[in-house]
Symmetry: C2
C-alpha cells in the first residue's frame, strides 16, 4: 500500500507507491510506450482492465463489453487507494507520513485508439466532460477525499504509458500543495484589492498579444509567465472558483475552445507531447476567490537540474511569439 | 535578451529566454543529444566554444588550447546574461518582470568525452570541486548576483544536450524560490526547536535503513520523502550552511562519497539519466541555520500531469528498498 510522506525541509508531500516496489531491473522499459498488440482500452478487450466504474453510450447493466463511448475504470497500478492502511514503519520526528488514501481512475476518452482532443468530435468531447463531472460529483461525497486532480499525459515524453486516448483522475486525502498555495494567494489578493486576481489577469490578457482564441465564455491564451514553450491556459471569463459549477452552455463553449486549442498545437507540431491539468478550488468551503482554469503544458523542453534546484523554469519561446504562431497556424477544420 | 517574469498566481518566476525565440520547427530536434562528429568540449576543438573563463592543468596564458584538465566556458546559449537590459514590453499589474541578469557557464569536467562522476579519478573530482569553488568565490563578489546554482544534467532524458561530461553554473539576480523556501523553513525550525532541521534529519537517517554510505564527514542516503526512485542526498555531518566553507579534508571525503554513490548507481542500472543539484545558503547573511547538501535525482520516472497539477511526486520505489539495492550492488572498484 502506498504512503504519503512529508519532507519537513521543503514542506512537500511525496506519494511512495511502495507496493510497486520497483527494483533497478524493473525500470529497463520505463521509457517505452506500449504499442501494438492487444490494447486494453480498445473494444473487445474490456476484460483486460479492472471492472468498469462508469460508462456512457452503452447499457451499464452489461458491464465490461463493447459499445461504450466513454469508459471509466480503476487504474490497474493505483498511486492511491481507498484500501490503503497500516503504516508499518515507525516515523521519527521531524518526519511524518499518512496512509496513501485516495482514488486513481482512468477515463478512456473514446473507443478510437488514435483519436485525440484535437480529433474527437465536439459531441465526444461533451461526453468526456460530462463523465468527468459525474466522477467529480460522485467522489466529492466521500469525506476521506479533499481534491480531485484531473489530468492527461499525452505522448511518451509527457508520461503516457499507453497510447490509447485516456485521461486520469486522482483524488487525494489532502489539498495538494499547488492548489493550497494558489488558493491562499488568490484569497490574499482579494483581501488586499477587493478583486479576483485571475479576473485581473484576464483583463490584461484580453487586450494583449497573448490571446490565441476567444469565445463567449472562455479565453485561450499563452500566459505571461509561461513555464513551457507554447503553454496555453483556458480560463472562464466569468468568475467561478469551482469547475463543478460549469453550466451546460459553458460545457459546449469549453469543448469548442479546447478542441481548437489542441488542433492548433497539433497543426503547429508534427509530434506534440503535452500534459493537461485542471486547476479548481478544493471541495472544502472558503475558496470562492479562486478561479478555475485548464493548463495545457507542451513538453518540448526538459525539466532538469536548474528547474529542480531553483524552482525557475527556462522557457525558450516568449508567450507573445507562441500565441502569434498558434493564431497563424492553419487550423485543421475537419472534424469527425 | 532574457527576462525573469513573475506569475502572481503561483508566486513563481520564469526565465523567458526570448532571444532564442524558438518557433515550432526549431523544436524538431530538441530531444536528441548531439552525438558523434566534432565535440566542442574535446581537445583540439577549444575554438568552437566561447573564450574560456578559467582552466586548471594548463598555462592560462595560452587560452583555448588543449592540455587542460578542467575548463570553464560561457554557455553558448545563456539563459541569463550580465548584458541583459531593456524590458521593452510595458508590464501591466498584476504582472511584473525584471531583466534576465545573470551568468551561465559550463564546467567541462574532463578532457575524456565519456568519463562520468563514476569514472573520474578522485584527483579529477578534486579538480572539478576546486574549480567550482573558484567560480563560486569569484561570482559572489558581483553585487548583481544573489545565488549560484551548480547542477549537472546527465543523459538526454535528464536534459543533457551534449554527451561530453559537463556541469553547469547559473548565477541568478534573485534568491531562487526553492532555496528561499528551504532557508525560511530551516530558520523557522531553528527558532522553534533550537536545533538545525537537517541535523535532526541526519540523526534519524544515521540510525536508519536509508543509509547507502557513510564516511568521516558525509552521509550518503536515500531521503525519507524521496521524490524520485533511487534519489540520493549527500549531506555534511557537521553543521554548515555554506558549501563555500567546505574544508580541504571535506573536499577529499566529499569526492570519495560522491564517486562511490555514482558508481553504485551506474552499477545498478545499464543507463542512468540523472540530475545533480547543489543546495546551499544564499550569499546574503542570515541563513546560518540552513545546511548545504547535494541531491542526486535519477530520471527513471517521468514528471507529468499529476506532479505539475498537485506538486506531489509519485515514487514507485520506497527509499528503504532503494538504499538496500544500492548498498548491495557490487561497486565497480577500478578507477582510472
Amino acid at each position: 500500500m502506498s504512503q504519503l510522506r512529508y519532507d519537513p525541509s521543503t514542506d512537500m508531500w511525496v506519494v511512495i507507491a511502495s507496493e510497486r516496489g520497483k527494483r533497478p531491473h524493473d525500470f529497463r522499459i520505463a521509457h517505452q510506450e506500449k504499442r501494438g498488440g492487444e490494447c486494453p482500452f480498445c473494444y473487445g478487450n474490456e476484460h483486460q482492465t479492472p471492472p468498469e466504474i462508469a460508462v456512457t453510450g452503452r447499457d451499464p447493466d452489461i458491464p465490461n463489453t463493447p459499445g461504450w463511448t466513454v469508459r471509466v475504470i480503476p487504474n490497474k497500478f493505483p498511486a492511491l487507494s481507498l484500501e490503503a492502511q497500516g503504516i508499518n514503519e515507525v516515523v521519527h520526528v521531524p518526519y511524518k507520513a499518512i496512509n496513501g488514501i485516495g482514488v486513481h481512475e482512468v477515463l478512456v476518452e473514446s473507443p478510437h485508439h488514435d483519436s485525440t482532443f484535437g480529433t474527437h468530435s465536439i459531441g465526444q468531447l461533451k461526453s468526456i466532460i460530462a463523465m468527468l463531472l459525474q466522477r467529480y460529483y460522485d467522489l466529492r461525497t466521500n469525506p476521506k477525499l479533499k481534491y480531485l486532480q484531473f489530468f492527461k499525459n499525452s505522448g511518451r515524453i509527457a508520461g503516457a504509458s499507453l497510447e490509447h486516448a485516456h485521461c486520469q483522475l486522482i483524488a487525494t486525502p489532502l489539498v495538494p500543495v499547488v492548489i493550497a498555495t494558489e488558493t491562499r494567494i488568490a484569497t490574499d489578493y482579494f483581501q488586499r484589492h477587493g478583486r479576483c486576481l485571475y479576473c485581473d489577469m484576464l483583463e490584461v490578457e484580453l487586450s494583449g498579444t497573448r490571446v490565441v482564441e476567444l469565445n463567449d465564455d472562455f479565453l485561450l491564451f499563452c500566459p505571461f509567465a509561461s513555464r513551457f514553450p507554447y503553454e496555453m491556459w483556458i480560463m472562464p471569463r466569468r468568475h467561478s472558483h469551482d469547475f463543478g459549477l460549469i453550466t451546460d452552455q459553458e460545457i459546449s463553449t469549453f469543448c469548442h475552445i479546447l478542441s481548437t486549442g489542441i488542433r492548433r498545437l497539433e497543426s503547429a507540431f508534427d509530434v506534440i507531447p503535452y500534459n493537461m491539468v485542471l486547476h479548481t478550488a478544493p471541495w472544502e468551503i472558503g475558496h470562492e476567490h479562486y478561479h478555475w482554469h485548464l493548463e495545457i503544458l507542451p513538453r518540448l523542453t526538459i525539466v532538469a537540474g536548474f528547474e529542480f534546484g531553483t524552482g525557475y523554469y527556462i522557457n525558450p519561446t516568449a508567450p507573445e511569439l507562441a500565441a502569434n504562431s498558434l493564431r497563424q497556424v492553419e487550423e485543421v477544420i475537419s472534424q469527425p
